[in-house]
């Protein structure tokens, strides 16, 4: 065999492999069917939503006050997706409350978007006040979380948005106080 055919074959294989590498390295938020997920994502999960779309989202809190996420566009915004039927979600809520209290001055704002009924969320908040706003959106919360990278729509799911709209953290499953505190400190130092 001459050298040219070997060279051509090698280049073709390399291009193919490089293409495969790019393809498999796409964001998990892509459209293709994917058989399974894992319990933790990280900042490498690129949400399929722009800063503008995040900040123009509007919803109603438990006191019937309508809000837009844009109200917190200058904050480090932690969006926690949860539901009263989700045990792990409720277990991490004291952590979220503590984080809100601890880092409010550093610019952290926690909000909870519930894939649950308004009645359930109000009853829950009366029993266990969170200290941060709760927004019941039974029909839309899971859908919105999927656009932020929550492929299977499971709960709890947490997203942190830097001032300006960049998503810097996503987590499927519970967060820890330490990791979020570190992230807040890192963000505040920038």
């Amino acid at each position: 065999m001459g050298l040219k055919p070997i060279l051509a074959l090698g280049v073709a294989l390399m291009v193919t492999l490089a293409g495969i590498a790019v393809w498999v390295g796409r964001s998990p938020a892509g459209d293709g069917p994917q058989p399974a997920s894992t319990a933790n994502h990280d900042a490498s999960v690129k949400p399929d939503v722009s800063a503008g779309a995040i900040y123009t989202a509007r919803f109603t809190d438990t006191k019937s006050q309508e809000h837009s996420l844009g109200e917190w566009q200058h904050k480090l915004l932690l969006i926690n997706f949860w539901a009263t039927w989700c045990g792990p979600c409720k277990e991490e809520m004291p952590i979220l409350r503590k984080l809100q209290e601890k880092h409010a001055e550093a610019g952290l704002q926690v909000i909870g978007i519930a894939a649950d009924s308004r009645v359930n969320v109000i009853n829950f908040a009366e029993k266990l006040p969170t200290g941060y706003p709760l927004f019941p959106d039974e029909g839309g919360a899971v859908e919105f979380s999927k656009r932020l990278g929550n492929r299977l729509g499971l709960l709890p799911f947490t997203v942190i948005v830097r001032p300006g709209g960049e998503v810097i953290f996503t987590r499927l499953g519970t967060i820890t106080e330490e990791e979020i505190s570190q992230l807040v400190a890192k963000s505040a130092s920038k």
Binding site: I6, G10, T38, N40, S44, F59, W85, E143, L154, L155
Partner: protein
């Protein structure tokens, strides 16, 4: 000629080395896209974690059976059924015992693992039978699935059930917001 063969071998070796590098990059790309997840257990799609099937017990009852994957559990009080659009309320005394968990909101809740069966009363078999089964469960990995609605259909004159068709249920709300968050996003409201 000997020299050409040597050059050819060296070139082939170079190409193989390059290919190995590209392959390593490809594999790194895979791990990068799922970074920090490799040690975590994989999560199943809801319809795989909670598999439902049906069979006629007699001309008055249908048995629904949920096969629950290892590491997953389902809530007794999150099951809701309807037959041909009519809600069916099951007597809780007829449910299997299950395991009691303490919940911050709902107090004592009953959960099932491995499998759970329930008998659904059927009024008449004069037409196709469509059972809509809404269920909800969680994984020990620390996440919960949204309510899942699965529909099983048995056509009149047959004893075969269609494969369950699943979808995420909108939940069990008594009231609905005026437009979902996603709709409001799309509409830019």
């Amino acid at each position: 000629m000997k020299h050409d063969k040597w050059r050819g071998g060296r070139l082939a070796g170079l190409l193989l080395g390059s290919l190995a590098t590209v392959a390593m990059l490809a594999s790194h790309s895979v791990s990068a896209s799922t970074n920090a997840t490799s040690s975590e257990p994989e999560l199943l799609e809801a319809s795989s974690a909670f598999q439902v099937s049906a069979r006629m017990v007699n001309d008055r009852k249908v048995e629904l059976r949920y096969t629950i994957a290892d590491g997953y559990y389902m809530y007794r009080d999150r099951f809701h059924f309807s037959i041909n659009g009519t809600p069916i309320v099951l007597d809780k005394k007829s449910w299997p015992a299950g395991k009691v968990k303490q919940d911050a909101t709902f107090g004592k809740v009953v959960t099932y693992r491995k499998s759970v069966r329930m008998l659904i009363p059927v009024a008449a078999l004069g037409k196709d039978l469509s059972i809509k089964a809404v269920s909800q469960g969680c994984a020990d990995a620390g996440v919960c699935y949204p309510p899942l609605a699965q529909t099983l259909v048995m056509h009149l004159g047959t004893s075969e059930w269609t494969a369950p068709q699943g979808e995420v249920a909108s939940g069990f709300s008594h009231e609905r917001p005026a437009g979902t968050l996603a709709e409001r996003l799309t509409q830019g409201k």
